[in-house]
Amino acid sequence: MFIRFFYMLREKGVPVTPTSFLRLQKALALGLIGSVDDFYTAARSILVKSERYFDTYDQVFAHHFKGATFEEITDVELTDVAKALLEEWLKRPKELAEALGLDENKLAQYTPEELLRYFLDRLKEQKEAHHGGNRWIGTGGTSPVGHSGNHPGGMRVGGASRNKSAVKVAMERRYRDYSQEGPLTELQMGEALKRLRRMIPHGPRDVVNVDKTITETMRNGGEISIVFDRRLSDRLKVILMIDNGGWSMDPYIEIVQTLFNYARSQFKDLKIYYFHNTVYSRVWLDPQRHLRPEAVEEFTRRDPDTRLIIVGDAAMAPSELRWANGSIYVGETERRSSEDRLKFLTQTFRHAVWLNPQAEASWNYTWTIEVIGKIFPMFELTLDGLDKAVQHLMKRH
């Protein structure tokens, strides 16, 4: 039963296994599934193992049981069209309010994002209506809250399926937003960073060391002598330096900061410094790079086992890197070139990496990236690159 459904899921890229299919058959045989609704939920929980495929599942289900066609128009296209239209309309709020069936006052309360979302939802309904089908539910609603069940980051909320048939629920495509091919999230990156650790004894002596206890007991002539040790815990010091200067770095600063703040609790000490393009004699503790400078020479006083992580695109004018007076800040004179400073840092900290948000394939085209890449081991700022960087940082030198 439902073999065609099973193969259609496979065809559409949902990794369903024969074992799970057999299990579904078992559920059917046991009489657990009494209706299409039951089948929808049961088959999904048995066959589909990640919310990333829920959307595809919904589509296949709707197609198989109702003959709904696969959506051709993509969200991206819609968004672009909508944005253009919306901008046009925003100049005439009254017209927009009318078109959306909203009160003009209500309209004013919306943020642009909310408005776009709301508008998109309406637009989609209209598209469907054009194609002559009334398959998509919830057409009449003008309520801004009730209909567009969206929350931040564009994540569509799938709520309870009260009083709706499974096919309708499937066609709602509640899981559309989970289906994006997993972008880098802070959670994922935090997970990669977790490997960055070094276990050392810490805290009160409350763990029994069995080997030592036995040795000590024997030495004691059989009198039991229990040896306690400190618990192993992770006490790694990390220095993070972020290039927050140019616009090219803007998209990454927030995620990098959040990421390391997220992982902060596991490090003994995490210091975040800022610089612009490259490191000269100073780095700053404040993002404005103005109030709290710290001289690079001072870093020699730090624990040399500290892990140094620099995040930057390493792209700049060659002069900034090579000349002692190459700083882009007029009026600042330097005694040593930035290249020397960077070398100084790698000599101070044995464990240092440079994370570059630019794609590795493009590194060859920028001269300064090549030069810095020779000083620092450089990795891409992706999950994969982060993984490699962490491995490198944990290597024994």
């Binding site: 559920a27 657990l32 939920t41 049961a42 929350h151 931040p152 997970e191 069995v210």
Partner: protein, 283 residues
Amino acid sequence: MNPVGEPHRFQGASQYVLDDELAKIVNVSIALEMPLLLKGEPGTGKTMLAHAIAESLAMPLIVLNVKSSMKLLDALYQYDTLTRLNDSRFGDSKREVSNISEYIRMGKIGQAFASDCRTVLLIDEIDKADTDFQDDMLDVLDQMQFDIMEIDKTVTARNRPVIIITSNAKKDLSDPFLGRCNFHHIAFPDPEMMRMILNVHFPDLSEELAKACLHAFYRLREFRGIEKKPATRELINWVRALRADPDFDLKAVENGEIPYLGVLFKKSVDMNLAIQQSGRPRR
């Protein structure tokens, strides 16, 4: 509600709002004797579900909180060598020192297997453990038995427990693991659902207050850059705080003011962001 003769059918519990879909999935998993893997962001009630199932089916609940350093053996049993060493040395206990089984202590999975009645076994935050732990554990749960090496004895489950596994989606679980579970992703409750959840916790909550709170709550969740978004638990505590405050003014919340921000945001960074973005700094 609960039909006689069908004791193992889950219907929801007093403190838990259950949606139909999830109830069906729970029931199918119980019937198929499969572990149910629940994913979803924090605060969607993954852990609460296990408590609710235990309550509704009147089974004892055994919770295994997974830790990153945990070995599978810790979850099965422990051989208390230290007590045995102590007993053999001083001999002042009633235990028989030569009988090792007196020094075997069951871990959480062991307890669930050895229990006289059927239990609900909650394995919380499985994603914290490493992959080996996960795969090995499912082997044990698959076969419903494990060996105690020290006394050469096999422990077999008398009653197959109802197994609920939760994951915070911090990392992907391995394919063999997924293959042996039923899966459900709990989405964050929509406002309508959240209203029902509030009703369960505060049966006498006024409509205006609920509406204002929910509105403010979902608005706060939309702020950018928040590390730990407020979840159901925070909302419930917040409503509790508002109701406990005799000077509380409903108008203020409706106007976008957020008293007791600290109940909703647990990190100072988040709190500052929230204050900035709420747009109306408190005078």
